[in-house]
Amino acid sequence: MATPKAVEAPKAVGAPGAPTAPHSRKSVTGTRKAVAALFLLPALVLLGALVVYPIGYSLVRSLYDQTGDGFAGVDNYKALFTDDGIRTALKNNVIWVVFAPTVATALGLVFAVLTERVRWGTAFKLVVFMPMAISMLAAGIIFRLVYDQDPDKGVANAVWVGVHDTFAEASAFPKAHPGRDSPLRADGGGGFLTEEPVRAGVPVSLPLVGVAPDQMPGGAEKAVKARPEQGAVTGTAWQDFTRGKGVGTLGVPDPTELGYAGMRIEAVKDGKVVASTKAAGDGTFTLPAEADGARLRLPAANFKEAYNGLDWLGPSLVTPAIIGSYIWMWAGFAMVLIAAGLAGVPRELLEAARVDGATEWQVFRRVTVPLLAPVLAVVTVTLMINVLKVFDLVFIIAPGSSQDDANVLALELYRKGFSEDQPGIASAIAVFLLLLVIPVMWFNVRRLRREVRR
């Protein structure tokens, strides 16, 4: 910042009458005031008309009713706390201000500390910082794609479903059900049960229909009639229907029909499962002798709807999802500022702590973080101000159906002011936003006053 000069420079020429103020940076030239005014005029006029005047206008306008004719007192401000839309917006803004800046700053801190330890740290920083250069609109479109509900399109759900299905068993036959003349009946719990007990040595037919051809499991082969086997219950579970060819011979596997590869089959006696197995690729299965006299059940797990992932942009997740996209954009900002702060931390301090036997975690927790505290504070406060004004991301990412649930003050101001024709309330929101940033304004001015006065 401004470097004060200890030695007063010789008095400038051409300004015999200029007062010698004790300031370090007095005019070099002893400029006439008129010239100074000319230099300042464009900036001050524009600032006055475009920034200062609107503040005054909003203050006054917020006290008048929606048409602007009648004085309304604090009615518009009351609406801030009674109007449902604004209350949702307020609530969401609180969530935003609490979570977005802290998570972004925490990630920035972790990234800044860790990138110091790898050789390609700069490349990593570039990747994380890059989203700052693009528009929130572009980021919004990017994340509309990411959050697409269909796991075959949205990468978030593709990953989520992938993880989910790794741990939870996927069901393969969501819409399968017995056709005409089937020996199977619904068991009341989503599965199906044979009406008659089965006998060892007598092959069982378990025909079902209803699975779309492209939904058949990958391992399905041509269905085969099971061979009778002494001392075992055998049978076939298959799709008794071929598109374009119909059922063929009802209840008998035709050459074009496919087996239900992987279908779970249980033998049930008196409500207890005595044996279970899975159908092979051609739909055939074999159960041990215990199954003799039992009824066969195709449990409900076979028929559950496939897991479809999370409704990221539905009412309950939409705000966290959009905050996620904000963090994607702004963690890089935190990282770069913190990395700059980290570069100023004396290495000897860290080394000394390590020599004293501190673990990396202790060094981080007890030395690095406290030394960076001022930077962390600046980053968090900056992001908080930024978050208060968030508009584009919510406007773009939240689909029409959940935009009310994702509402934030800046968006509500836009709606009230420009689509609902309620400029009084919109002005009250504007004044409210301004009030929220005034502490920071004051802080900036105070910090700078010390500097300009040096």
């Binding site: 910042m1 940076r25 230099f39 794609l145 420009f418």
Partner: protein, 283 residues
């Protein structure tokens, strides 16, 4: 000796750190790659399967969407508008901000520091505060829907940062340089143009890049103050978002085209951009 154990632990830690950073890096890249790939696939493919399928079927890649987009007059017109808004808004902020920054740094007039602090106070004023008043004002003086109006708005809200950044930078110019120029008989304007502006290069570059990206990427201000003829690319694309599923072939390439210039600027001027961001941490 625990030395060996520590070395093993260090290696392991190094491995874990590297793996973690690689995963995070991928996490950060995937969304953008998704947009890029989406913009390079036919809409039929997009509605049939996820963009990642392209890695097993690279033949799906096509520039058709881009070609169609560039034949779309609305989009190309809005790209021109983006340039028409961004360039003057950047140049004006730099020029007007430099004049004021110089005056605040080196001229003497009553209440100078108070005026400067007043400008600094305006740094954090949210643009939202000005939308309704300025919309009304522009409506009265016929600037509504006009590119000039949007430019002026961006200049107004760019100025506090410009004045703040440049005043602080100019204040560090050695007094001797200015005095020498003055002794050579340079007038105030000449001093400004020949000495201050060239010396202020780095700060002016940071400011210019920052303001350029800010205005180029803006949607809200343009959404309020432009109409169908003067809207920039961000607003043109925004109007398409309503039918998100149906016009991904416009949105994806459009978003990517709108990102190309900012990304090019970002990669070309990383250093200036970062120093602009650092100085602007108060904004």
């Amino acid at each position: 000796m625990t030395g060996r154990l520590e070395r093993v632990m260090d290696k392991l830690n190094g491995g874990v750190v590297r793996a973690f950073l690689i995963v995070v890096g991928l996490f950060w890249l995937v969304p953008t790659v998704g947009l890029l790939v989406s913009s390079l696939r036919a809409p039929e493919d997009m509605s049939a399967s996820g963009w990642w399928e392209v890695f097993s079927k690279p033949s799906q890649l096509t520039l058709d969407s881009y070609q169609k987009l560039l034949e779309n007059g609305d989009i190309t017109g809005s790209l021109v508008n983006t340039v028409l808004i961004t360039v003057p808004a950047t140049v004006l902020v730099v020029v007007i901000g430099s004049l004021a920054g110089y005056a605040f740094a080196w001229m003497e007039f009553p209440g100078r520091d108070w005026w400067f602090l007043g400008v600094v106070g305006l740094l954090v004023v949210p643009v939202q505060v000005a939308l309704i008043p300025i919309a009304e004002l522009f409506g009265k003086i016929g600037l509504f829907g006009n590119i000039l109006g949007v430019v002026l708005f961006h200049v107004g809200f760019g100025l506090p940062f410009a004045v703040f950044l440049l005043r602080n930078f100019f204040a560090e110019i050695p007094r001797e340089l200015l005095e020498a120029a003055r002794l050579d008989g340079a007038g105030e304007l000449r001093l400004f143009a020949r000495v201050v502006m060239p010396l202020g290069g780095p700060a002016i570059a940071s400011l210019g890049i920052f303001q350029f990206l800010w205005v180029w990427n803006d949607m809200l201000v343009a959404l309020v103050f432009t109409n169908a003829d003067s809207q920039p690319i961000t607003v043109a694309l925004q109007t398409q978002v309503r039918q998100f599923g149906n016009n991904i072939d416009v949105l994806a390439p459009g978003a990517f085209i709108s990102m190309v210039i900012p990304l090019a600027v970002f990669f070309a001027f990383q250093r200036q951009f970062v120093s602009g961001v650092m100085a602007g941490a108060v904004k």
